[in-house]
Amino acid sequence: MQQDRERYDVNLFRPRQGYMTGEVAIILAVLLGWGMVNFGFQAVLRLLAETPAGEGIFTRLTFLSFPWHFWFTGQFLPLWFIILCILFNIYIDRHTERHSRRRDRSHD
């Protein structure tokens, strides 16, 4: 009974052997890129701020005529999310194909 329970155990942090292990690794890598780049940048922006309104090195630099931080948040981050989604799909597609070829029905 206990063995059956473990056999059907689904847990993001304790992925089952086989397909799910690789799938979870890809998910966690994407989530890391998602959180660090977005929230991490805002934290750095705050850390390097020289005034209460947040003025600092990033607000003085420019890129494509935008204040650098504004370009990063308003334009790059949505693009970054699209890139992350594309990478996720490519890796999951490959991962799925690899396991399909092996006929690795790890759940059986």
Binding site: D9, V10, P52, L64, G74, L77, I82, N89, H95, S100
Partner: protein, 509 residues
């Protein structure tokens, strides 16, 4: 309002646009089965992406986001980031798994996963509440648009626009109008970008890609007029920014009408790639929205107008249209912009009212009150529910509790604090059970409305769970409650755990 008097040409363009959707929907009806809610023929990955984007675009994206950016500058980019970054969460944590689970509405998923009528009832109630809040924001947009079109006050505009919107929904339902969401998205993107290109051209900025060419305008605002549009923390702290952004992200991944989109795609791989296209189409509009806000500030400054804060808040939700008027664009082009905004609000209202009504009729009446109800009875009840929900929304929208994007954010907070954790653990933790789900969702409801409920008594509550941004602490709290209660109560059936392990997390696509 921005422009006193009747705006005939824009009004005619709005009417012609809405009319053309009904006509094209009726023509399409002869070629395919009409759908009352979700469904329709397969349209490919790009088409699926356009459908996702069209389904997503609302008055909040079209009007509300520009309004908040106009008021708050950089701080309001949290909406841009929240509403795009949420799709990453949706893709990596839910899209494929929901498709494999095979239940496409939030109450259906919750009811089946947790094998509990009570959990289904709670999630149905939450879904309907989300629909009502979201619709209230749309009605505010519709009210302001109609007030501008007819040159009336907000109240008259709301009553008139609300009646037309509900009439549109009912007429579409009665005639069985099929929704061509690629056409809808095309209309939305063209109507948003074309006037922006014209504005950039008139103001002397790079007009061919105006969404990437307004950087100079930000610098001009600061250099010539001392307006620092890009100051990062002028309108809110780092915590407030992160809390708002995170709430909008988890809300996006938990919004019932977004989760339901994966039903129309035939396989998981196409569902995933459609989502990427959808995010790209959404980003096209979100890259552009800040430009309207910057141009609005610039036009005001050049005209020597410095409106008082109360006035700016009052007109923020229609600042996109107002910018086009101030910029001296021709009436037909302003009409196209207004038609896009009206269409976005009408499509969203139609989707939400039909989903909410279907939930009332199917998940509450049929599943819980009268399981022997006939299809005719269910359909009649759904149609009645559309009218009742509309009346509720109209009543709330008479005294809108905030700006369009702010009202919408509360719906996101509710979704992020309730549906998102129920789906997340439902998919990724086999041990999550009905008691955990019920306790978690009820906690989520309390957390979402903690500020109006307890903020007056315990001021710290308003700091920890701000009304529009409660999910930063709320969603993890709900997840913790779900885990604790699940562990203290019996596990779900072995059948469900096996289904999760073999079907939902099996690898074969």
């Amino acid at each position: 309002m921005t422009d006193a008097g009747f705006n005939l040409i824009p009004l005619l363009i709005v009417a012609a646009t809405l009319g053309s959707f009904i006509v094209s929907g009726l023509r399409a009806r002869s070629r395919e089965m009409s759908d009352y809610g979700f469904g329709g023929r397969y349209i490919g990955r790009v088409g699926g992406g356009a459908a996702i984007a069209s389904n997503w675009m609302s008055a909040a994206s079209f009007l509300g986001m520009g309004g908040l950016l106009y008021l708050q500058g950089y701080y309001a980019l949290a909406y841009v980031i929240g509403w795009t970054g949420g799709y990453v969460l949706l893709l990596v944590l839910m899209a494929g798994q929901i498709r494999r689970f095979g239940k496409y509405t939030a109450p259906d998923f919750v009811g089946a996963r947790y094998d509990s009528p009570a959990a289904r009832l709670i999630s149905a109630g939450i879904s309907i509440t989300i629909s009502v809040i979201y619709c209230t924001a749309q009605f505010k947009g519709i009210g302001m648009l109609f007030a501008w079109l007819f040159g009336t006050d907000y109240r008259s505009g709301l009553l008139l626009g609300g009646a037309v919107a509900v009439g549109y929904v009912i007429l579409s339902g009665v005639l069985g109008v099929a929704r061509n969401q690629q056409l809808q998205y095309t209309v939305l993107i063209v109507s948003f970008i074309l006037p922006l290109m014209a504005l950039a051209y008139k103001l002397g900025y790079f007009w061919m890609l105006p969404q990437f060419g307004y950087g100079v305008a930000i610098q001009d605002l600061k250099r010539e007029f001392g307006i620092n549009f890009a100051a990062p923390f002028a309108s809110g702290t780092l915590f407030q920014w992160v809390a708002l952004c995170f709430t909008l992200m988890v809300g996006t991944a938990g919004l019932p009408h977004v989760l339901s989109r994966f039903y129309v795609v035939p396989n998981i791989r196409d569902a995933r790639w459609s989502l990427v296209w959808g995010l790209f189409f959404i980003a096209l509009i979100y890259w552009s929205a800040p430009a309207y806000a910057v141009f609005a500030r610039l036009l005001e400054a050049r005209a020597g107008m410095v409106p008082p804060p109360a006035a700016t808040t009052g007109m923020a939700d229609i600042v996109v249209i107002r910018t086009a008027v101030m910029g001296g664009l021709p009436a037909w082009m302003i009409g196209i912009l207004a038609a896009g905004a009206t269409s976005a609000a009408f499509f969203t209202v139609a989707g939400l009212l039909i989903t909410g009504a279907a939930s009332l009729s199917h998940d509450i009446y049929y599943r819980i009150i009268n399981p022997r109800a006939s299809e005719v009875t269910k359909m009649a009840l759904a149609k009645g529910a559309v009218v009742v929900l509309s009346a509720v929304v109209l009543f709330i929208a008479l005294h809108p509790p905030g700006l369009i994007a702010e009202i919408t954010a509360v719906a996101f907070a509710l979704a992020g604090n309730t549906i998102f954790p129920a789906f997340l653990l439902g998919i990724w933790w086999g041990r999550a059970n009905r008691y955990g789900a019920i306790a978690g969702m009820l906690t989520g409801v309390v957390v979402t409305f903690a500020t109006p409920l307890f903020g007056g008594v315990v001021p710290a509550v308003a700091d920890i769970f701000p009304l529009t941004s409660s999910a930063l602490f709320g969603a993890p709290l709900v997840v913790a409650v779900m885990i604790a209660v699940s562990l203290l109560t019996p596990p779900p059936s072995e059948e469900m755990r096996r289904f999760l392990a073999e079907q939902v997390h099996g690898h074969m696509e």
